[in-house]
Every structure is written in structure tokens, then in C-alpha cells.
């Protein structure tokens, strides 16, 4: 077809169709995680990044971020202008992030004990050594928050200064368990069989399970939103970055998956005080440092009741439960995040970070 003979409005529509079709067939592509950073420590597949601030450091206590074992942590640094990490650097914080990397078959036996005691623990030391600080803030997101809460229970004393938990499930059997709570019940999910068969749980299994929690929105609505943006010529960058992230998962190390389902979802051991890490009991009441616990009202991955009870379980006097009118990921990015989450985190920490 000779494009010169095509009426401009039709050519325009053709281009838009082509654009949308390419995204649907090839997947969204976007530059993500662009804030400059250096790797200050590695272990197996894990890397500890230190983000390079543009402005001089205003706060002496560094922030150490721990992400979940599934999905990639660049959601915390999605893109310029839409990045929690960039915001915190701009507010004068020294920011570190533990990226678990992508586990291989050889990592299928790694459990929560390994991740908490052999990865988070030495990484905290490295944060202190690199920053020269005497204490640090531990910041956990989603499952990374659960791991951070466990770590803080085991090592509650200094140098731990503050604990920030973001959409962090702790009570896995509240009254309203949500769809994920239902699917993971013992009669419907046998993690032993899955791990024995698959080793690591594939990322598409995890991604599909997450997307199936809201199938109409995730499988149809996402693309409706894309077409709307294309046809109305709205900015696409955030949509592309988010869509890339949603489909860019990592396998769940087998042994950790087994524990996540058996001990957390099915056994609710963290709340019952029955969870042990290499023989050491995990008692949330040991946590005495200031705690900021943030949840999303529309979160369907970590429903609010799963996150809420943390505040009653920790021993801290200085503690706050902060709820945002957002979903699990929505609270992290976009306009809502800029007006809600980011200023809350930076102001709360600003008062407690020297």
C-alpha cells in the first residue's frame, strides 16, 4: 500500500493500530531503573546497590531497602520522575537496595532462613560500612517487608534505627483472607508436590496467579487502557514501564516457596509466634524501634487486614499505621504515590534519621 495515497486521518489510525499491536505481540519495552547506582556487595545472585545522590546527604541514617523474592525491584525506581528512590535521594537520604537477582536451579534449596540470616544480615553490615553510619533504617516492601520484620525481630537492637513496612503481609489468616488466601489453603494447594516437581516455581506461574486475582482488569483492562492512551495520544511511558514490570517476574526459590505457603499462608506461624529461623524463635514483640506500617486500601495481594496487625504485635512505642487509597503497586507509582506515599515516607523518616 502506498502511504502517500492514504488520507492522513486513516494513516494516523493505521499507525496507532500498528503501535498497539506491536506492544501486544512483543511486550512492553521501557527504560526502567535509571537512577545511577553502584554495586557495593554481591552474594550468589544478590546485589546490594547504593544509589548515587545528586544532592548532598542531609540525613546521616541510610535507608536499606529489601524487596520481595518475586518480581524485580525496579518498581522502586521505575523511571525518572516516577521513582521512590529518586524522591528519597532528592530529600537527602542515602539509599541502598538489595536485589535478589534471578535464582537458578542451584538455588532451589534456599529458604527464608538463608535469605534472612545469610543475605540480609551481611548486607546490613555492608550498608553500615559503606555509609559510615552507626545505624540504619530497614525498609521492606511486600514479602521483603515480611523478611524485614523477621530480621528486625531477631536483631532488634542497634544498629537498627527504624523499620518501614510497605504492603507487608504478617497476619496471613485474618477474617477476610481474600482470593489469594483462599487459593493457598491446604486443601487447594500442595506446595510440597509443586516444589518436588518444579524445583523453583516458574515466574509465569507466579505472574499468572497474581494477575488472576483480578483477571478482567489485568488481562482485558490493561489493554483497554493501552488502546485508550494510544487513541487519545496520552503519555505512554508509565503504562509501558508498569506493563514491562508486571510481566518481568522471577522464579520463586522452591524451598522458600514451600515455607511461604506452609508456614505463612497455611500455618500463620509469624503471628502465632511459632516461626523459627535456625532454631531462633521469631517474636515480633522484640521490635522496639520506630515502625511505620503502610497499607493500601485496595490492595488485593496483601489485603489491608494482613498488614494491619503488625502494629499491634510489635513492641515499639513509636509506631504508625498509615493507609493509602491505592492498590498493591498503585501506591508506589503515579500521581497518587507522589502525593501520598513518597512524602509520607520521607517526612516520617526525615524526623527520625538524624
Amino acid at each position: 500500500m502506498d502511504k502517500s495515497t492514504v488520507p492522513p486521518e486513516v494513516a494516523d489510525k493505521l499507525d496507532k493500530y500498528a503501535r498497539g499491536t506491536r506492544i501486544m505481540l512483543d511486550g512492553a519495552r521501557a527504560e526502567t531503573g535509571q537512577t545511577p547506582k553502584v554495586t557495593v556487595w554481591t552474594k550468589n545472585k544478590a546485589k546490594l546497590y547504593r544509589y548515587e545522590p545528586e544532592k548532598p546527604k542531609k540525613h546521616s541514617i541510610p535507608i536499606f531497602m529489601v524487596y520481595a523474592l518475586i518480581n524485580k525491584p525496579y518498581i522502586l525506581d521505575l523511571m525518572p520522575g516516577n521513582s521512590l528512590i529518586e524522591h528519597l535521594l532528592g530529600e537527602g537520604f542515602d539509599v541502598y537496595l538489595l536485589d535478589w537477582g534471578v535464582p537458578g536451579d542451584e538455588d532451589a534449596d534456599l529458604s527464608f532462613e538463608d535469605f534472612v540470616l545469610d543475605y540480609i544480615k551481611p548486607a546490613t553490615k555492608r550498608v553500615l560500612w559503606t555509609s559510615g553510619a552507626e545505624s540504619y533504617t530497614l525498609f521492606g516492601y511486600c514479602m521483603g517487608g515480611t523478611m524485614s520484620a523477621i530480621y528486625a525481630s531477631l536483631f532488634p537492637e542497634k544498629p537498627l534505627e527504624n523499620l518501614v513496612l510497605l504492603t507487608t503481609p504478617v497476619d496471613f489468616q485474618p477474617e477476610e483472607i481474600g482470593l489469594l488466601g483462599l487459593w493457598t489453603r491446604e486443601e487447594y494447594l500442595d506446595p510440597d508436590l509443586l516444589v518436588e516437581s518444579l524445583g523453583n516455581i516458574p515466574d509465569d506461574f507466579i505472574d499468572n496467579s497474581m494477575q488472576m486475582l483480578k483477571p478482567i482488569q489485568n488481562y482485558v483492562g490493561t489493554y483497554a487502557s493501552m488502546w485508550e492512551r494510544i487513541l487519545e495520544e496520552k503519555p505512554m511511558e508509565t503504562w509501558l514501564a508498569m506493563n514491562k514490570w508486571v510481566n518481568d517476574g522471577t522464579p520463586f526459590p522452591g524451598a522458600a516457596f514451600r515455607q511461604w505457603i506452609r508456614d505463612f499462608y497455611q500455618g500463620n506461624k509469624l503471628v502465632k509466634g511459632e516461626l523459627k529461623m535456625r532454631g531462633r524463635k521469631v517474636d515480633l514483640s522484640n521490635i522496639m524501634c520506630p515502625v511505620l506500617n503502610i497499607a493500601g486500601e485496595k490492595d488485593h495481594i496483601c489485603p489491608m487486614p494482613q498488614a494491619k496487625s503488625t502494629i499491634d504485635l510489635v513492641g515499639s512505642e513509636d509506631k504508625e499505621f498509615f493507609v493509602l487509597d491505592a492498590g498493591h503497586v498503585g501506591l508506589m507509582t503515579g500521581r497518587g504515590a507522589k502525593e501520598g506515599l513518597w512524602p509520607k515516607v520521607s517526612s516520617w523518616l526525615g524526623e527520625r534519621s538524624g
Partner: protein, 231 residues
Amino acid sequence: MTNGFETGSAEGSAAGEEKKYADPYGLYRRWFEAWGETVQGEARASMGAGEIEELWRRWFAGTAKGLGGGSGKDGYAGSLGSLWEQMAESMRKETASRGDLSEDPVEFFLRWYGETSERWAGVADDLLKKREVLESNAHLQENFARSYRELRHASEQNLKNMQIPSRSDLAGVAKLVVGVENKLDRIEEAFGEFVYGGSEPATAESVRSLQERMDGLEGKMDRILAALEKG
């Protein structure tokens, strides 16, 4: 036919890995082709409402197959097969009721989605909570896991017979490498403790104490060995 779908650069500069998806979206390609034909004046007269309906039907059938097909590990997606069919039927009815093709198909889809998505989301939520769906998925998942395990064992055995390293052999070697790395990490950490951790230098007294403990340990080892030799 040359069209914009086949030409043009990729969306932005690529970052991250390219990921191919199952393609339940053949309809868009067909739309595009239909557009091209329309522009060329080849197909306007022949593109009837029936064909549009057929395209919707195919798209939803493809979507249902793409989401539910293949592996039991994605079983909950498969449970939505009937829902996709209901949605396709809803779109078909909507198309048929309009009786003409004046609306752009994508705009039609967006309007239809905007008007009905909340209802479908509710239907999907209810469906996925049903006991029979939960049980059926659990069963599907179990069968998938068992079959996969058998297949894996058979493959491993075949590779072993052919003296070709299997995936688990490679994982075993990789695990050894990780073990060595861990030892190096511990040495590095010990040095780090010394450099950054404010370790105090050894005093003559602490060295003497260590020497005494070593002597004690050697004495114990000698006694154990002597006892073993006698036994």
C-alpha cells in the same frame, strides 16, 4: 500488502529482555489488515457485520485458549473459559444490535469495556471463589505437577543413559560453585570486620589464651586417637 504493522521501529529504545507472549490477539492483526484493504477500496463492501462478529468470536476463543490452554499450572485462568465465552457473546450481541460498522472496532471495544467491565469483574471474582472451581483447579494443578515430575525423571534417566549431563547435574555443579563463593564471602566479611568493624588488635594475653585452647584441643584429639587404636 505492506502495512504499518510490518514496518516501523520498535516501541522506544528497548530495555530489558524482549518477551514474547501467547498470541490470543490475532484479531488486531486482522483488523489492521482489514483497514489496509478498506483503504485500498478492496473490502468496504464485503466487510459485513457477520464478519466482525466472527472476528470477535475468534479473538475471545483465542484469548480463552491462550489463558487456559496448555498447562495445569495456570489452572485458574482455564476456569475462566466460560466467562470469556459469555463476554464474547455480550460483544456479539452488542455488535449485532448496532447493525452497522460505523464505529471503529477498537473504540467499540473500549466503550463496551467501559460499560461492562465492573460487572464482568464481579462475575469473575464470584466464579474464582466457587468451591467447584477451587477443587477443579487443585486437581488440575496436582495432575500437572505429577506429570511434570514423571516427565522430568524420565528425561533425567534418558540423559543419564546417554551420558549427557542433565539440568540437575548442572545445578549440582553450580551449587558447588555457590558453596565456594560462600566461603570466599566469609573470608571477605572477616576482612571487612577487621577494616570497618573496629576489631581490636590481638594482645599477648589473647594469643596465649588461644595457644592454650589449641593445646587442649590437640590433647583431646590425641586421647581420642589413642582410644580408637586400642579399640
